[in-house]
């Protein structure tokens, strides 16, 4: 391997951090700081594009691996690598980051330097979570995302920001302690933190006492991830955090941080404890379906637009969990795809909400009405993104939801039927919201003279709109690399169900024939 291939992950991960350190020594000229942050995030994006460019498709294992001993005792390695599942999550992170910088251009005018330092540190931590193959390193980055995000909410947020920041911090912190306990148990029995090593040892049954402890270990990981996702009973931090966070904070929270939870479920709960995952799937799926329906119903009655979108996350992430625990190839493929979709669509929704907040400083739906008249471009973008979130065919949300639901049907028809109602609900609450905010006459005189989107705002929305369209039309670009890793992961599960499942390729090709030609 050449130098770039063998170091690209380190470069991508630590570029933002290096930028943040440089930024700390910058004079307080806000303009320069913004441009510098934008430049750093763009360079990181470019560097990260090396990954899909040189990724060997069809290879299910980890690529671009880096593995050097870090601390001799305990035996911790600096082990990085991506497979088809984590590859696109890294790119999603680096893709959203420049847009977040752009969206904060004017919204953040106080303590600009601190804000961008925190954002860049957060980027490093988020990328680190997705590419760590050493459990210790993973935990390290996992915890490291916490501080910058809590500070972003707490310092730059709105009214009840302190409450939201503390709630976010404590929920995640307390839950991840259980994961740490499980990691330490695994280390004590295997003498390694290495994900691949532990996986092999577990599969070959060489870990003493594993059978007795497996349930508790599974739950230890599960609690940490379930809070992050967030799954139904532990989702209450999410609406608060979203409503109070600044726009860029919400975008990253919904776009990336929640995916850390679903990614963790897939990588660790399924990867390390397949038997326990199988055994516990029914109640987890039940929670996921409750989340889908409950999130949608609560979203429907929210008077606050941002809170509404926050609850849609509960609902949409329920789909992802459902897909993961369907244990079918198409379901899990769809779940991974839906993670990316949600990052794009909901990220864009939060950005749109931020734009209107910059103008009117309220998220109260009753303050708005008839916005399509003064802001036609804004209304168009909003409609487009909303439809992608609802799951309109030809846009990205449809592919993900369709695959997840197919997987759910294959697993058990009841799951599919119940979850499918979520699609209807999401159309209801988003359309209804859209109607109330954009259609009709301008009732509030404050809205009459609103200016439409300026060039900067359009530039920050176009990439997401294009991504939503391309992902809806040509999903195979992504699924080609996702699928082999998913297949490899599902090998641990019983082979019988596999045979009856058509491959994702078949289904999506059929899909394309229906919608395309």
């Amino acid at each position: 391997m050449n130098f770039i291939d063998s170091n690209i992950l380190t470069i991508v991960t630590f570029l933002p951090l290096a930028g943040a350190i440089l930024l700390a020594f910058f004079p307080r000229r806000d303009r320069d700081i913004r441009y510098f942050a934008l430049a750093v995030s763009l360079i990181t994006l470019l560097a990260s594009l090396h990954l899909p460019w040189h990724f060997v498709r069809g290879n299910s294992g980890f690529q671009f691996e880096e593995n050097i001993p870090w601390i001799p005792h305990p035996n911790i390695h600096y082990h990085l690598g991506v497979d088809g599942i984590s590859l696109w999550l890294v790119v999603l992170t680096t893709f959203l980051m420049p847009l977040c910088v752009l969206i904060s251009w004017k919204g953040i005018h106080d303590r600009v330097k601190e804000f961008f330092i925190l954002m860049l540190v957060l980027e490093t931590a988020m990328i680190g979570v997705f590419i760590s193959l050493d459990l210790f390193l993973f935990y390290f980055f996992w915890e490291a995302t916490l501080i910058p995000m809590a500070l972003i909410i707490g310092i730059f947020g709105h009214g009840r920001r302190i409450y939201a920041a503390v709630k976010f911090f404590l929920y995640t912190m307390v839950a991840s302690v259980f994961m740490l306990a499980a990691i330490l148990w695994l280390y004590a029995r295997t003498g390694s933190f290495d994900f691949v090593t532990i996986q092999n040892l577990v599969q070959s049954g060489q870990v003493a006492g594993f059978a007795q402890a497996a349930l508790w270990l599974f739950l230890g990981f599960f609690v940490a991830f379930a809070v992050k996702v967030p799954l139904f009973p532990v989702h209450t931090w999410l609406p608060d955090a979203h409503v109070e966070a600044p726009t860029a904070g919400s975008v990253l929270l919904a776009g990336v941080l929640l995916k850390m939870g679903t990614y963790g479920l897939l990588r660790f709960n399924l990867g390390l404890f397949p038997d326990q995952a199988r055994r516990n799937a029914p109640w987890i799926i039940a929670l996921a379906i409750i989340g889908i329906v409950y999130g949608a119903l609560v979203a429907m009655i929210q008077p606050n637009i941002k809170r509404l979108v926050a609850y849609t996350s509960v609902s949409h992430l329920g789909f992802v969990v459902l897909g993961i625990f369907s244990f079918t190839q198409i379901g899990v493929d769809g779940a991974v795809y839906q993670m990316l979709n949600h990052g794009v669509s909901t990220g864009a929704l939060f950005m749109l909400l931020g734009m209107i907040y910059d103008r009117r400083h309220t998220y109260d739906m009753s303050e708005y009405g008839g916005l399509a008249t003064p802001m036609p471009v804004y209304a168009t973008f909003f409609a487009f993104i909303m439809l992608s979130s609802v799951g309109l065919p030809l846009l990205n949300g449809f592919i993900g939801e369709f695959m997840v639901l197919s997987g759910a049907f294959l697993a058990k028809q009841l799951y599919g039927i119940l979850a499918a109602t979520g699609v209807i609900w999401s159309a209801c609450y988003l359309m209804w919201m859209y109607q109330r905010v954009f259609y009709g006459n301008v009732t509030n005189p404050a809205n009459a003279a609103l200016t439409d989107l300026d060039a900067r705002e359009r530039v920050s929305l176009w990439p997401l709109a294009i991504a939503a369209l391309v992902m809806g039309v040509a999903p195979m670009l992504w699924l080609h690399s996702i699928d082999p890793s998913v297949v490899a992961m599902l090998k641990q599960f019983s082979g019988a169900t596999q045979a009856s499942v058509p491959t994702a390729t078949h289904v999506t090709q059929a899909l394309l024939q229906v919608i395309g030609r």
């Binding site: 870090w70 490291a144 920041a165 911090f169």
Partner: protein, 477 residues
């Protein structure tokens, strides 16, 4: 005839004593209203010379003075820790003494003498010498605690510390007497030899009494009651000193007394003290408004985490304890250095409200304090994280599930009150009437040292941990 090499084995102590005497002698030469900074400079040179002496000493492992002193990796490690603490504290004191108008030259002398006592505590293997060392360090800190002469709280702190401290030392001495009565020796390794074959109830009692004495010094519950009052009243740099230096030294001593002698019956004492310290310390800290008191309770809690490592015992546990001592020293001295600067004249600004908006008034200082606080919570990339990590994994290996659960719950509680300081600094409205002076160079250097140490231990703990393991190995030999 004492061989010359014996003097090398107490070289750092000798160097610091000499410098301490020089400080005392130069003091009268400085006019009464003049700045005492030159004395600080002498103390600084003294600690640096002490560090050099320690490096030199590391080539001469072995026993000295009829087996009363033992220089090994363990003692050298603690010499380093204590000397670095003294170095940073004297850097912090430069400006503090000026601002508070404390014109006492003996301050630096006492600092050096106290350090001598602490270093001796880590290398003494003879209980009588241990006692003398303990007294040297204690008496210096008693006086230092009362340095803010015009303030009643400071006198209260000094007196309280002195009375309770003497009481505790008496317990320790009583224990030493009993162990001598049982085994006929006061040499740690001699005692170990006896206790291998001999079982007596008196030995249990002796160990318990010694534990009481040392438990007081490290502020472990249930012997912690003095801590908040003393920390609140004492000058802030002195608190930085006494919450880390004597603690590190006393822990070193406790390690020697408990493990080198293979003392009987220590396990449940340590277990209970650990659980109590963590719980009482953290719960006490939750309701504090005064930052110094808050950090006092936090230091009780940290003594608890350290004792968890003790309970885990043997090489892994001891090395975890050693590592914890070092990283705790770095982050706590740093935190108190910031507190002493923010406090300003008369230590006016020490409540949480005074920290409101510090992130805006002094972004750099707030950022640095944040890192120390995060380290105290135990967030990755800081020394505090690995310290906790090693402690809990050692405890897990020793199957102390109960203690680990108590410890983990406590860590979660602790996150809340450290976080509160951060919240005040960044998220509350600014307090404009509490100005923050520019950070002087000396303090800047001190803070940078603590910061580098904290981050270094959090990113590359391998080397220090390796050294700690070696020390633990040496200790148990």
């Amino acid at each position: 005839m004492i061989p010359a090499v014996d003097y090398v084995r107490i070289l750092p102590e000798l160097v610091l004593t000499v410098f301490g005497i020089i400080v005392m002698m130069v003091d009268p030469l400085i006019p009464e209203q003049g700045s005492k900074k030159p004395l600080g400079a002498i103390a600084l040179v003294g600690t640096i010379a002490g560090l050099a002496a320690t490096v030199y000493q590391a080539g001469y492992y072995g026993s000295a003075f009829y087996n009363t002193i033992r220089v090994d990796t363990f003692s050298v490690f603690f010499h380093f820790v204590v000397l670095l603490i003294a170095l940073v504290v004297s850097l912090t004191s430069f400006e503090y003494l000026e601002v508070q108008r404390i014109r006492s030259g003996e301050y630096y002398g006492l600092l050096l003498f106290g350090t001598v006592g602490m270093m001796l505590m880590s290398s003494a293997v003879e209980l009588v010498l241990v006692f003398i060392a303990l007294e040297i360090s204690s008496i210096s800190t008693y006086i230092l605690a009362g340095m803010r002469r015009r303030v009643a709280e400071s006198a209260e702190a000094s007196l309280k510390y002195f009375l309770l401290g003497s009481f505790a030392t008496a317990f320790f001495l009583y224990g030493v007497a009993m162990i001598y009565g049982t085994t006929g020796t006061t040499n740690v390794y001699g005692i170990a030899h006896f206790l291998q074959t001999l079982h007596s109830t008196l030995a249990y009692l002796a160990v318990a009494l010694m534990f009481v004495g040392l438990g007081f010094k490290v502020a472990a519950a249930p012997f912690h009651v003095w801590t908040p009052d003393v920390y609140e009243g004492s000058p802030a740099p002195v608190v930085a000193f006494m919450s880390t230096g004597p603690k590190a030294a006393a822990f070193a001593m406790l390690l020697r007394v408990l493990f080198a002698t293979d003392a009987p019956g220590w396990f449940w004492m340590v277990w209970v003290a650990a659980a109590l310290s963590m719980t009482l310390g953290n719960i006490g800290a939750l309701v504090q408004q005064n930052v110094k008191r808050l950090l006092a309770y936090s230091s009780i809690a940290h003594a608890g985490y350290l004792l968890v490592a003790f309970a885990a015992a043997q090489q892994v546990g001891i090395s975890a304890a050693i590592f914890y001592t070092a990283s705790y020293a770095a982050m706590n001295v740093g935190a108190f250095a910031v507190v002493s600067h923010v406090a300003s004249a008369g230590e006016k600004y020490v409540t949480l409200d005074d920290y409101a908006g510090l992130g805006r008034r002094s972004p750099m200082l707030a950022a640095i304090l944040t890192i120390f606080l995060l380290s105290l919570i135990g967030i990755p990339v800081t020394g505090g994280f690995f310290a906790k990590f090693y402690v809990f994994s050692a405890a897990l290996q020793a199957n102390l599930i109960g203690l680990v659960i108590i410890g983990v719950i406590n860590s979660a509680i602790a996150a809340y009150y450290y976080l509160r300081i951060i919240i005040y600094m960044y998220m509350r409205d600014e307090r404009t009437d509490a100005p923050v002076a520019r950070v002087p160079v000396s303090l800047g250097v001190g803070l940078a040292m603590c910061l580098i140490a904290t981050v270094y231990l959090g990113v590359l703990p391998g080397r220090v941990l390796g050294y700690a393991l070696e020390s633990a190995h040496d200790l148990l030999k």
